[in-house]
Symmetry: C2
Subunit: 151 residues, 2 copies
C-alpha cells in the first residue's frame, strides 16, 4: 500500500484548493466580462482568436474538456450573438466548422480589455513567477486525470 493516510489527505486538499481557486477565478471573470458573457464563452472566442478558427465543435469540446452537448450549447449561444458562424464541413457531412465573425473578433478584444482592471488589481499580489513555475506540474496532473477519465 503506497498511498498512506497522509498522502490521501493531501490529495484531497490539493483538489479542494483547485476547486476553490477555480470557483473564485471564474466568478471574478464572469463579473468582469461585458454583456453577461460567461467565461466559458469567452474561453472559446479566445481560443479561436489566438489559435485560429475553422475548428470542429468536437475539437473544441476536447480542448476544454467539456461534453459534446455542452459545446453545442456554448456554440449556439455564441452563434445567437453572432460572434461565430457554423459552416458545414467540406468533406464530412456529419461535421461542422466554427468561424469567428468580425463581431466575434471585436468582442474578444473588448473582453480581454475588460479583464484588464481586475488583472491590474491582482498585480503585485500574485506571484507570476511561481504561477508560471507551477504550470508544468499542473499540466502533468491534468494529463494523468485525462488519461484516466474512465475510472
Amino acid at each position: 500500500m503506497t498511498l498512506d493516510e497522509e498522502q490521501r489527505k493531501a490529495v484531497f486538499q490539493f483538489f479542494n484548493e483547485i476547486g476553490i481557486i477555480q470557483q473564485l477565478a471564474s466568478t471574478m471573470f464572469n463579473k468582469c466580462l461585458p454583456d453577461g458573457v460567461h467565461v466559458s464563452h469567452f474561453a472559446v472566442l479566445n481560443h479561436l482568436a489566438r489559435l485560429g478558427d475553422g475548428k470542429t465543435p468536437l475539437t473544441l469540446a476536447e480542448a476544454f474538456q467539456v461534453t459534446k452537448g455542452t459545446m453545442t450549447h456554448t456554440l449556439s449561444t455564441l452563434s445567437k450573438r453572432s460572434f461565430i458562424t457554423l459552416r458545414p464541413h467540406a468533406t464530412d457531412g456529419r461535421s461542422k466548422l466554427v468561424f469567428l465573425t468580425a463581431a466575434g473578433r471585436e468582442f474578444q478584444v473588448r473582453a480581454v480589455e475588460s479583464l484588464g482592471p481586475a488583472m491590474a488589481a491582482l498585480d503585485g499580489k500574485l506571484d507570476y513567477d511561481r504561477m508560471i513555475a507551477m504550470l508544468p506540474e499542473l499540466a502533468k496532473v491534468r494529463a494523468v486525470l485525462d488519461e484516466n477519465r474512465d475510472l
Copy 2:
C-alpha cells in the same frame, strides 16, 4: 505597467489549467461516489466529519466559497437524505446549526472508501510530493483571489 503580455498569457493559462483539472477531478469523483451523491455534498459531509459538526450554514458557505443560496440547496438535499439535521441556534434566532446524523457519518465513511479504487489507480502516476509542494502556493493564490472578490 508591470503586467506584460507574456505574463498575462501565463495567468490565463494558469487559470485555464486549474479549470480543466477541477473539471476532470470533479467528474471523476462524481462518477465514483455512490447513490448519485454529488462531490459538493460529499465535501460538506467530509468537512463536518473531519472538523466537527455544529457549524452554521454560512460558515460552510464561506469555507467552500459558494453563495448562501447554494449552501441552502446543498444542505436541503443532505437533509432530505437524512445525512444531516438542522437545529435552531441556541442564541441567535436567525441562525441554524448543522449536525451529522449516524447515517451521515456512515455514508461519509462509505463514500471515502468508494473513492479508494480511483485513488489507487492514480497512484504511481500522480506525483504526490509535487502536489503537496504546490499546496502552499495554491493557498496563496486562493487567498489573494479571496481578498479581491469584489473586483
